[in-house]
Amino acid sequence: MIQLLNVNKYYHTKQGARHILKYINLTIEPGQKVGILGRNGAGKSTLIRVIGGIENVNTGTVNRTMSVSWPLAFIGGFQASLTGLDNLRFICRIYNADIEKAIPFVEDFTELGVYFREEVKTYSAGMRARLAFALSMAIEFDCYLIDEVMAVGDTRFHDKCKYELFEKRKERGLILVSHQPGQIREHCNVFYVLHDGYLKRFDDVDQAYAYYTEQG
């Protein structure tokens, strides 16, 4: 379970403290599929970082008894001068996962071929995205964090990703954060709207979307 109780988060800027997350209450049960709608600047990324435990909060409590993934298909974590294999080893070491078990999966899933053992800086954007997604699937989590809609690679790869995430891991938890309702409607069963730092819960996606557009 992940529980946020009355969480507040401020950032210090030159214009003074900015109140980013306001009195957030959120409980995510194991296996729950949570969709969070929010516009750019509503505090989505901050909320994700707080849920993921990357960032501390100023007031309130965060309890976490499930493991949460890093934001899925997040590409920034690569060291470009290392090979895909090196990056895989690094991730496995950090999460204490079996490297030898992960190698065939990632090699097969990414279809990188010989490039798997080449430096990441020689990769195309699509190849990087494939590696990023495969790495996040190589580590098992109780709950997967997805920041924005996944637009990874071509249709065939997209389908593979969907199968890996929504079929093979359908008993796992999911937090999908987006500014569009499409994927949230498709994959989630609990809905929230984050607006101006406040988080509001809805049981119905249409109600959530109506509120979301109203706040526009």
Binding site: G52, W70, G76, G77, Q79, D86
Partner: protein, 263 residues
């Protein structure tokens, strides 16, 4: 405040694992696979030592009655260790900020991995260069290796605290990076690399002994030369300074963490 439910011993093993992973990553990116970068670890101090030795050649390779080569080896490798540890921590977060998206990776880990690598690098340079020079007959064997190790260990401890402080302050303020460069320049000549406290006039000796690094270098030289030199040092003083710096470093790193999040 955040409530952490991870028990302490588990946190400790996670941290060790993460630092190990970062270290391997750092070794690959820094020294590469072609080993040229790795070679540079020894080449750079060797160039310095050979160059400085050439300056002393005309007076018979002695400085104040002691062989100059081991004097330079002990002095320069000491400076190298704390200077490189601090320099590598300076602005170390920005290029690694995305790694912080992995919950197990903390700012402290990023710094510690770099510090450990620099300490290991400087230690290896000292050992390899000394062994080479001893084998070639340019240097005698040290009189008391344990005392040298003690001095080296205390300097490594000093480098750790300094690295954390510099790393955190450069993260919190852009101006500090420049200030640190000036501090490096100023402390290089007064860090004991190029003199022994005994050679200074009495009044300067007292002042010199306020500089923490000097105590470590003096210890190393007493270990190398034995009773031929009169070393001045106060081990408790260096230990206390090291502890204060480590504590200050940890507090500053904790504070710097808040800065990082806002990107």
């Amino acid at each position: 405040m955040k409530v952490t439910t991870t028990p302490l011993h588990k946190s400790f093993s996670i941290q060790l694992r993460v630092i190990d992973a970062l270290l391997r990553r750092e070794v690959l990116t820094r020294y590469g696979r072609d080993n040229i970068g790795f070679l540079w670890l020894f080449v750079e101090p060797m160039i310095f030592i050979v160059g400085m030795t050439a300056l002393f050649a005309y007076r018979g390779l002695f400085i104040s009655g002691i062989p100059v080569i081991p004097f330079l080896v002990t002095g320069y490798s000491s400076v190298l260790m704390w200077r490189n540890a601090a320099n590598r921590c300076s602005k170390a977060i920005v290029p690694n900020i995305s790694l912080l998206y992995h919950r197990n990776v903390t700012v402290l880990d990023l710094f510690l991995a770099r510090i450990v690598l620099e300490i290991a690098g400087a230690s290896m340079a000292l050992i390899v260069i000394s062994a080479f020079l001893i084998a070639m007959g340019y240097m005698a064997l040290p009189v008391d290796i344990l005392t040298m190790v003690q001095g080296w260990f205390l300097l490594a401890f000093f480098a750790t605290g300094l690295g954390l402080i510099v790393g955190a302050l450069t993260e919190m303020s852009d101006g500090f990076e420049r200030i640190w460069q000036i501090i490096t320049l100023v402390t290089f000549p007064i860090s004991g690399a190029f003199f022994m406290v005994e050679w200074l006039p009495k009044s300067a000796q007292e002042m010199a002994l306020w500089v923490p690094m000097i105590h470590g270098v003096e210890l190393m030289r007493e270990g190398y030369y034995g009773a031929v030199v009169k070393a001045h040092y106060n081990i408790p003083y260096l230990v206390v300074v090291n502890c204060i710096m480590l504590l200050a470093g940890l507090v500053l790193v904790y504070k710097a963490k808040d800065n990082v999040g806002s990107e």
